[in-house]
């Protein structure tokens, strides 16, 4: 049993050992043997306990008996015990063996434990510190990451805040940018307040200016893109981005140019309009804020400074915005070749538009719009050059096809009724107006921006009125024919005259003498020959030329910068007309220069040199726009029509000449207007031109009649010719109201020429008796008599010229010398013939030679 107990105890201890391995440790293991000894002692004590049952009287016998009994008992017990021991010996041995094994195991375990503990201690010593550190750090990390999260949150919040701010600013910015194209006071106030809250008033103003710049750019870009067509198709936005604004401008087709320009002007106007109102808003605000008091706070000073900054910025901005706008418009204007505008109306329209724009610019920032003016000038010159070129060619066309028939004009006709001159009425009215309200000018300033509200522009009305050419189309004055009047479609009525300013009326009042414009032009159809005092003899081309004058003046009016160039071109029209009339009807005389006044000859030569293409330059050679040379005019109609020998020819000549005079008259009439249109520095040119015209005119009268009469080359046919001439002339006068002046001049020239012819004829007579001379005298007397019957011209001019020549035949040698010296009017041929064949018959050779030498000397004297 004690063994069992021990084993149990051991087992128990083992268990304990197992349980408290880490806690108890080595001590217990080393004490195990002592422990077992103590256990043995307690077993002995157990037996001692038996003695306590002993009786009180202790006798030997009892003790002996007891002892014997006990001995017996002991013996049996011992026997039993040994039996048991023997019996259990094997088990005991086996058990012991197992105990041994166990002990062995335990020892091994002990060793293991010991080493394990050692290792554990080691590892505890080595790692638990670091572990704690790790742990600590881990915890720290956790804390930190928690913190981080919070920070993140804060950051996000902050970001959101910034983002919101940005968004807000962006929104404000967008709102601000919208202001650029459409000002809205309420929105703007809100935006300004917002910026004030953000403390960004100044930045906002800078931003606003950037917006204006980009608004101008972007708007212009998209406007132009909208009008660009490539191969007949509209351009897509993405495509357009590839091009610069300038390139885009070049791609606007000419047919859409005007539309595009209107559109652009309008959009630019909106931007400027908005800018103007932004400025106004700030000015108003300035007014409403009370002045700084004497002890201003920092904030007040800051605020005040901001406002000043803003106003300053806005003020300088005006010029910049306008400059930007000008650039955009300029590029658009330059994108198109103005010379390809076929219609004057188109140019006028563009000019009108640009003028409006410049007016806007002037009011916007007091700018004279140099850029635009330059552009317009350059482009108008381009246009005008080609326009002029075309007009010259057209004029040639008209002249070459001209039949020199009188174009019957109304008696009340005046050129200012022509559509082409209509602009003068408004021009004069404008001039009057501006004269009367020079004082009113000031209040006009800013008018334009106040006049139009946000949705309107000064370019609106033109768009509605999309047929600009109606205003200035190539129309004619109404000629009374009722059908048109009834339809109410004619522009001019007689009462239109009321519109004509007096200064214009004065000029032509005499054209209307006594006659009311009559519907039926019958005056010339009566049989009475009457000569008009004032009627105009005008050919179709003359009228066309006058219309051209009107157009040119209109251009001058609209385009004062190039007015002078236009004026020069205008004089070229006249020059060409004049030259053509000369070359058609008096070409002969150009070669016979002595019959022309030298000044006229010089004028004609100048025209020819400057304006007439040399004959070998063929038509196919393309003419550059700069070249104003026109082909030599050629009559495309049958030239025989104008033959000097026919009376038709006479009519043509008269009409042509008179038409030149008419043209010159009208130019004189226009002089006043021309003078106001060109810069004063150039006025001398004008006077020079006019003096040239006048000169040319005097000579034209002189010259053409001269040629007219060249047909009368035979003395004996002369009278008959005159009869024919007179009859024809009178019949002509029936058809055409010719001025009496023309009639008289014609007769005058005819007679003078006939006289010359007489002298020519007489001088050509090789041999002549005195009777012959008498006959000559008689002929001439006869002729004079007849002549006086025919013409009212008195006295017969230069009849002495012939008479004296005939009488000279009778002179003696000494007389003839004197006579020759005093009669310089005869040519040397006349004189030498007189000496050789006439007077010479009673002179000897020597005398003849002497007189001939005298004639030669005189001739030399004339020439030098």
């Amino acid at each position: 049993m004690p063994l069992k107990d021990r084993v149990r105890h051991l087992l128990h201890r083992d268990q304990n050992k197992d349980r408290g391995q880490s806690a108890t440790g080595e001590n217990e293991i080393s004490q195990t043997p002592t422990f077992s000894v103590t256990k043995d002692d307690s077993a002995i004590e157990d037996e001692v306990d038996h003695d306590e049952k002993l009786p009180h009287e202790l006798s030997l016998k009892i003790i002996e008996s007891q002892r014997t009994e006990l001995q017996k008992k002991l013996k049996s017990v011992t026997k039993k015990l040994s039996e048991l021991v023997l019996e259990n010996h094997t088990a005991y041995m086996g058990e012991l063996q197992r105990v041994m094994d166990l002990q062995e195991d335990l020892e091994r375990a002990n060793v293991l434990c010991a080493s394990g503990r050692k290792k554990l201690t080691l590892s505890r010593e080595k790692f638990s510190g670091a572990g704690l550190g790790v742990l600590g750090k881990h915890r720290k990390k956790q804390l930190l990451s928690y913190l981080l999260q919070n920070f993140h949150t804060i950051k996000t919040l902050q970001k959101t805040d910034i983002h919101l701010r940005e968004l807000l600013e962006e929104k404000l910015d967008v709102a601000l940018s919208k202001i650029c194209s459409k000002f809205d006071s309420e929105t703007y106030t809100t935006i300004q307040n917002a910026y004030s809250l953000l403390g960004k008033n100044r930045a906002a103003m800078d931003q606003l200016h950037m917006h204006y710049t980009s608004a101008i750019h972007n708007t212009a870009f998209s406007v132009v893109t909208g009008h660009v067509e490539e191969k007949g198709e509209a351009l897509i936005k993405e495509e357009a981005q590839k091009f610069s604004y300038q390139d885009l401008c070049k791609k606007v087709p000419i047919s859409r140019f005007i539309e595009c320009l209107i559109h652009l002007s309008k959009e630019m106007w909106y931007i400027m309009h908005s800018y103007y109102y932004v400025m106004k808003w700030h000015k108003d605000e300035e007014k409403n804020v009370p002045k700084l008091d004497s002890y201003p706070s920092i904030a007040d000073i800051e605020n005040d400074y901001n406002k000043k900054y803003v106003l300053k910025k806005l003020e300088t901005g005006f010029t910049r915005v306008w400059q930007d706008v000008q650039m955009k418009v300029k590029l658009l204007l330059f994108g198109t070749d103005f010379s390809s505008f076929s219609k004057f109306e188109d140019l006028l329209f563009i000019l009108d538009l640009t003028n409006r724009l410049m007016l806007v610019g002037e009011e916007f920032c007091g700018s004279k719009s140099k850029t635009l003016q330059e552009t317009i000038r350059t482009q108008s010159i381009n246009y005008f050059k080609s326009h002029h070129r075309a007009r010259l060619d057209e004029l040639r066309m008209y002249l070459e096809n001209e039949a020199w028939e009188v174009c019957p004009l109304e008696l009340g006709f005046n050129i200012f009724n022509l559509q082409e001159f209509r602009f003068l009425r408004t021009a004069v009215q404008d001039a009057n107006k501006s004269k009367s309200d020079t004082n009113g000018m000031r209040c006009e300033v800013n008018g334009i921006f106040e006049k139009y509200n946000v949705l309107e522009s000064p370019f609106d009305c033109i768009i509605e009125d999309n047929s600009p050419d109606d205003v200035v189309s190539t129309d004619k004055p109404s000629n009374d024919e009722p059908e048109v009047d009834e339809e109410g479609k004619t522009i001019y009525n007689d009462n239109d005259e009321d519109d004509i300013p007096d200064e214009l009326k004065q000029d032509f009042i005499d054209e209307q003498t006594g006659e009311t414009p009559s519907r039926n032009y019958k005056a010339g159809e009566t049989n009475d020959v009457k000569f008009s005092q004032n009627s105009s003899v005008v050919a179709n081309t003359t009228l066309t030329t006058i219309r051209f004058f009107g157009r040119y003046m209109h251009i001058m009016h609209a385009l004062s910068p190039i007015a002078f160039d236009v004026l020069i071109s205008m004089t070229q029209l006249f020059d060409y007309y004049l030259f053509t009339v000369f070359s058609f009807f008096s070409n002969e005389t150009i070669s016979n220069n002595h019959q022309l006044s030298s000044k006229l000859a010089a004028t004609l030569k100048r025209i020819k040199d400057n304006m007439i293409q040399s004959s070998h330059a063929s038509e196919s050679v393309s003419v550059s726009v700069d070249d104003i040379k026109v082909q030599f005019p050629r009559m495309s109609l049958d030239a025989t029509l104008f033959d000097a020998g026919t009376q038709r020819g006479l009519a043509c000549r008269i009409i042509a000449t008179e038409s030149v005079i008419f043209l010159a008259d009208k130019l004189e009439l226009l002089r006043l207007h021309l003078e106001t249109m060109i810069p004063s520095s150039k006025r001398p040119f004008l006077s020079q031109f006019y003096s040239q015209i006048r000169l040319a005119m005097n000579n034209v009268k002189w010259d053409v009649k001269e040629i007219m009469s060249q047909h009368s080359s035979y003395v004996d046919l002369l009278i008959q010719e005159f009869w024919r001439f007179d009859t024809y002339f009178k019949s002509l006068a029936r058809r055409v109201l010719l001025p009496i002046e023309v009639y008289n001049i014609l007769w005058d020239r005819c007679i003078k020429l006939a006289n010359k012819t007489f002298v020519d004829g007489f001088s050509n007579v090789k041999k002549c008796s005195n009777e012959g001379r008498a006959l000559m005298q008689l002929d001439f007397q006869q002729y004079l008599l007849q002549l006086e019957k025919m013409t009212t011209v008195r006295p017969i001019p230069e009849k002495e010229y012939v008479e004296n020549y005939v009488k000279a035949y009778y002179l003696t040698e000494s007389e003839i010398e004197k006579w020759i010296r005093s009669h310089k009017e005869y040519s040397s041929k006349h004189l030498s013939n007189l000496v050789l064949h006439g007077v010479g018959s009673h002179l000897n050779k020597k005398q003849k030679q002497k007189i001939l030498n005298l004639i030669e000397d005189i001739e030399k004297g004339k020439k030098s």
Binding site: K343, R389, A390, D393, E394, M397, Y398, N401, A403, W404, E405, V406, C407, P408, L409, S467, D469, D470, S473, T474, D475, K476, P477, S478, N479, E481, E483, V484, K489, T490, I491, Y492, Y521, A539, N540, L543, T544, S618, E619, S620, V621, S622, V623, R634, M635, S636, L637, D638, A639, T640, R735
Partner: protein
């Protein structure tokens, strides 16, 4: 202008009574627009346009004459040397139709007798005010060997067609030899384009002013 090249230049006339719409027809033809505020023509006005016709480039030189009686003497002088003419009456105005005979005589006598004339009944749009039927006018045209079209200068209907037809007819006659451009007063001139194209069959043509009288 001088830079344009064309094969032929044809001289055209527009004749007919006043107010029949001659100027409007010309304006419509050249500008493709109705001339709102047309008033009576004084004398003669001129317009030109280059068209393509029978594969040729043809420049038309068109003289728009005044219809009013008092301009008759001026306008007559322009008849000379016209290759083609538009003889215009107003379908809503009987008088303008009745005057056709006189206009026709003038044209045939004053211009070349070979002049190609197309009769134009203008203002086709005024159907409700019609005073001349299509039928009677086309009969008149047939009797007088004229081509015939009704047009409206207002709507533009048949306007280009009128000029084209007349030009085409002239070109056909040139090809068939019926018309000789070299004849003085034919109203036909060769442009620089023609010299090239026709040089094979007409080697003689070298001058561009075949009908210049001087």
């Amino acid at each position: 202008m001088a830079s344009e090249s064309y094969d032929f230049l044809l001289k055209f006339l527009i004749i007919g009574s006043a107010g029949t719409g001659k100027s409007c027809l010309l304006h419509q033809f050249i500008e493709n627009k109705f001339k709102q505020d047309s008033s009576h023509t004084i004398g003669v006005e001129f317009g030109s346009k280059v068209i393509n016709c029978s594969n040729k480039t043809v420049k038309l030189q068109i003289w728009d004459t005044a219809g009013q009686e008092r301009f008759r003497s001026v306008t007559k002088s322009y008849y000379r040397g016209a290759a083609g003419a538009l003889l215009v009456y107003d379908i809503s105005n009987r008088d303008s139709y009745n005057a056709l005979g006189a206009w026709l005589t003038d044209a045939r006598t004053l211009a070349s007798p070979q002049i190609v004339i197309i009769l134009i009944g203008n203002k086709k749009d005024l159907e409700s005010e019609r005073e001349v039927t299509f039928l009677e006018a086309s009969r008149f045209a047939q009797e007088n060997e004229l081509m015939f079209l009704e047009t409206s200068a207002l709507s533009g209907e048949n306007v280009e067609e009128a000029f084209l037809r007349c030009s085409k007819n002239i070109l056909t006659r040139i090809e068939s030899g019926e018309l000789n451009p070299d004849r003085v007063g034919s109203g036909i001139q060769y442009g620089d384009g023609t010299i090239r194209k026709l040089s094979s069959n007409k080697p003689e043509v070298s001058s561009s002013d075949g009908n210049c009288g001087c």
